[in-house]
C-alpha cells in the first residue's frame, strides 16, 4: 500500500517559522524567581542586556522579567549594580 498523505509540507527536511514558531515554556524550569525592587531600579538596563533569554520587559521606569520564559539563571540579579533584583525561591509564590 502506498503512502498517500504526508504530514510534512515540503519534499525535503525544511522547517518554516511562518508555518509554526516553536516555543518552550521555559518559565517552568525556574527554581528561583527574580524579583525587581522598582524603587531601587535606576533603569540602567544592564539586566535586560545580559539576560540570556532576553526576557526582561521594558516598562515605563523599570524592568521586569517575563515569567513565561525566565529560566531563573540569576544573571540579572548578579549584574544589577544597585542590588535591585533578588532571587527568591519559587516555593514562596503561589502563581
Amino acid at each position: 500500500m502506498a503512502v498517500k498523505k504526508f504530514s510534512t509540507k515540503y519534499e525535503a527536511a525544511w522547517s518554516d517559522a511562518d508555518q509554526l514558531l516553536l516555543c518552550l515554556d521555559t518559565g517552568t524550569w525556574r527554581t528561583k524567581r527574580p524579583v525587581v525592587d522598582k524603587e531601587k531600579c535606576t533603569y540602567c538596563g544592564l539586566c535586560a542586556i545580559y539576560c540570556p533569554p532576553q526576557c526582561m520587559i521594558t516598562r515605563a521606569d523599570f524592568f521586569e522579567p517575563n515569567l513565561n520564559f525566565c529560566k531563573g539563571c540569576g544573571i540579572c540579579a548578579k549584574e544589577c549594580l544597585r542590588g535591585a533584583i533578588t532571587m527568591r525561591p519559587e516555593g514562596d509564590f503561589t502563581s
Partner: protein, 400 residues
C-alpha cells in the same frame, strides 16, 4: 523542432564533461583536482578565463568543500556542478549523503578510479559502488559523446520538480577520461531550449533569505520516515523520467542512449551478457563477431545503476537461458561482482537461470576482447545446461 547539428571536435571524455557542464550554464562550479578527473577542472577554469562560462568558480581546498558548496548553492536556488574521482569521492562522502538527504540537485561527474586500501592510480568502478547507498541517482556512460549528452540530461533530471535529487555521471578513468573521440557539441541555444522545460515547473523550495526557512531540519520519528519515503519515491520516479528525458533528447538532438538500459541484439538472443562503462563498447564488437559465428548472444548495457532499473532488466532478461555479468568492482562480503549480486535479487522475476559473475578490469586491467569472448563462451555453456563457475576473476585465471 530539431536542434542544429553541433560542431564536431576531437576531445577527451574529461573535456566532453567540461563542455557538457559549461553548456548547461551552471551558476556555481566547485571542484578539487584529482587524477584522472583533473582535466575537467582545468577545462572549466579555461572556459571561465575565456569568458565562455559565466559561473562562480570556487577553487576549494578539498572535495568535501566542493560538495558542500555545490549542495548549498543548489539549495539557494542555483545550478551547480562538480567533478571528482575515487578518494575524492570518499573524502566528500558525508557531504554526498547530505546532498541527497537535502534533495540538492547537484550534478557531479565521477571519473571511476579504484578507492583507498591498495594504492592504485587506475581505473575501476569501486568508488561508484561504495556510494551506491547514498541516495543519489547514478548513471554510467561509455564514451565521450555520451558523457556530454548525459550531463545535459542529468541537469534536467536532477532539477525536475518531481525528482529534486543529485545525479552522479560515472565514466571509467583513463579508458574514457583520456579517450579522445570526435564529439558533437550542441549549440548553446539548443541546450538552453532543452533545459527550458525546467523553467515552466513550480519553484522548488530554496533558501530564500527573506523567509524564515531552514534547510536540514531535525526529522522526528514518523516525519523522518516520511522524508525517507519521499526520497525513495523520487528515486523510483527518476527511472521513468530518465527514459523520457533520453527520448526527448533523442528527438531534439538526434542522439539517445536507451534510458535506463540499452539492449543490443537481445531480441532473439539465447543468452545475454550485462556490463557497463567502457566494457560495453568492446563487448558490442565481440557480440557482433560471435553473432557472425552463429552464437545467439545479446548485450545489456547498464546505464542507470541507482535507482536500479529492475523493471527494464526483467523485461530484457526474462526468457533468456543464462546471463553473465561483468563487474569492474567487487562486492565485499559476497565475494562476487556488485551488479551481479543485485541482478540476482531479480531471480523470482527472471526465472531460475544461471547467472554468472565475472570480475575484470580492476586497477586499469584491460577488459580485452579475449576476456569478453571467454565470458560469452562460459555463459553459452551454462545456457546449454552445463555446469558453471559462479564467480570468475578473469585476469587471475587467464594468467595461469
Amino acid at each position: 523542432m530539431k536542434a542544429k547539428q553541433g560542431e564536431l571536435k576531437v576531445m577527451t571524455g574529461n573535456s566532453a564533461a567540461a563542455y557538457g557542464a559549461m553548456l548547461c550554464r551552471p551558476d556555481v562550479v566547485a571542484s578539487y583536482p584529482i587524477t584522472p578527473q583533473t582535466e575537467v577542472v582545468e577545462q572549466l577554469s579555461r572556459f571561465h578565463a575565456d569568458g565562455i562560462l559565466d559561473a562562480e568558480m570556487i577553487e576549494v581546498e578539498g572535495e568535501n568543500s566542493a560538495m558542500n558548496a555545490c549542495a548549498a548553492a543548489t539549495l539557494a536556488g542555483g545550478r551547480a556542478f562538480t567533478a571528482t574521482s575515487s578518494w575524492g569521492l570518499v573524502y566528500m562522502y558525508d557531504a554526498v549523503l547530505q546532498a541527497a538527504g537535502f534533495r540538492a540537485p547537484v550534478v557531479m561527474v565521477n571519473v571511476n578510479r579504484e578507492t583507498p586500501g591498495i594504492l592504485a592510480v587506475s581505473s575501476g568502478q569501486q568508488d561508484m559502488i561504495q556510494t551506491r547507498d547514498a541516495g543519489w541517482i547514478q548513471v554510467i556512460v561509455e564514451n565521450s559523446q555520451e558523457i556530454l549528452d548525459t550531463i545535459i540530461m542529468a541537469f534536467r533530471l536532477a532539477e525536475d520538480y518531481d525528482i529534486q535529487l543529485p545525479v552522479m555521471v560515472n565514466y571509467d578513468g583513463f579508458y574514457i577520461s583520456y579517450l579522445a573521440e570526435g564529439v558533437r557539441i550542441p549549440a548553446r541555444e539548443d541546450v538552453d531550449q532543452f533545459l527550458s522545460v525546467l523553467k515552466t515547473q513550480p519553484q522548488r523550495t530554496i533558501m530564500d533569505p527573506t523567509r524564515p526557512i531552514g534547510a536540514g531540519s531535525h526529522g522526528l520519528m514518523t516525519e523522518f520516515m516520511e522524508l525517507r519515503y519521499r526520497h525513495c519515491a523520487a528515486l523510483d520516479r527518476a527511472k521513468k523520467k530518465f527514459d523520457e528525458i533520453d527520448k526527448d533528447y533523442g528527438d531534439f538532438f538526434g542522439r539517445s542512449y536507451g534510458g535506463q538500459i540499452e539492449e543490443y541484439r537481445t531480441e532473439d538472443a539465447d543468452f545475454v551478457i550485462l556490463t557497463s562503462g567502457s566494457a560495453v563498447g568492446t563487448s558490442r564488437t565481440v557480440v557482433d563477431a560471435k553473432r557472425a559465428d552463429g552464437v545467439k548472444v545479446g548485450l545489456v548495457k547498464m546505464r542507470m545503476f541507482r535507482p536500479f532499473p529492475q523493471e527494464k532488466l526483467i523485461k530484457a532478461i526474462k526468457g533468456k537461458k543464462a546471463v553473465g555479468v561483468i563487474d569492474r568492482s567487487v562486492n565485499f562480503g559476497w565475494n562476487c561482482g556488485p551488479i551481479y549480486s543485485e541482478l540476482r535479487a531479480l531471480t523470482p522475476e527472471i526465472g531460475n537461470i544461471p547467472i554468472l559473475s565475472f570480475i575484470d578490469g580492476l586497477a586499469s586491467i584491460d577488459i580485452t576482447k579475449p576476456h569478453i569472448e571467454r565470458v560469452i563462451d562460459d555463459v553459452a555453456n551454462a545456457a546449454k545446461g552445463k555446469p558453471y563457475q559462479a564467480v570468475t576473476w578473469i585476469p587471475l585465471e587467464e594468467r595461469e
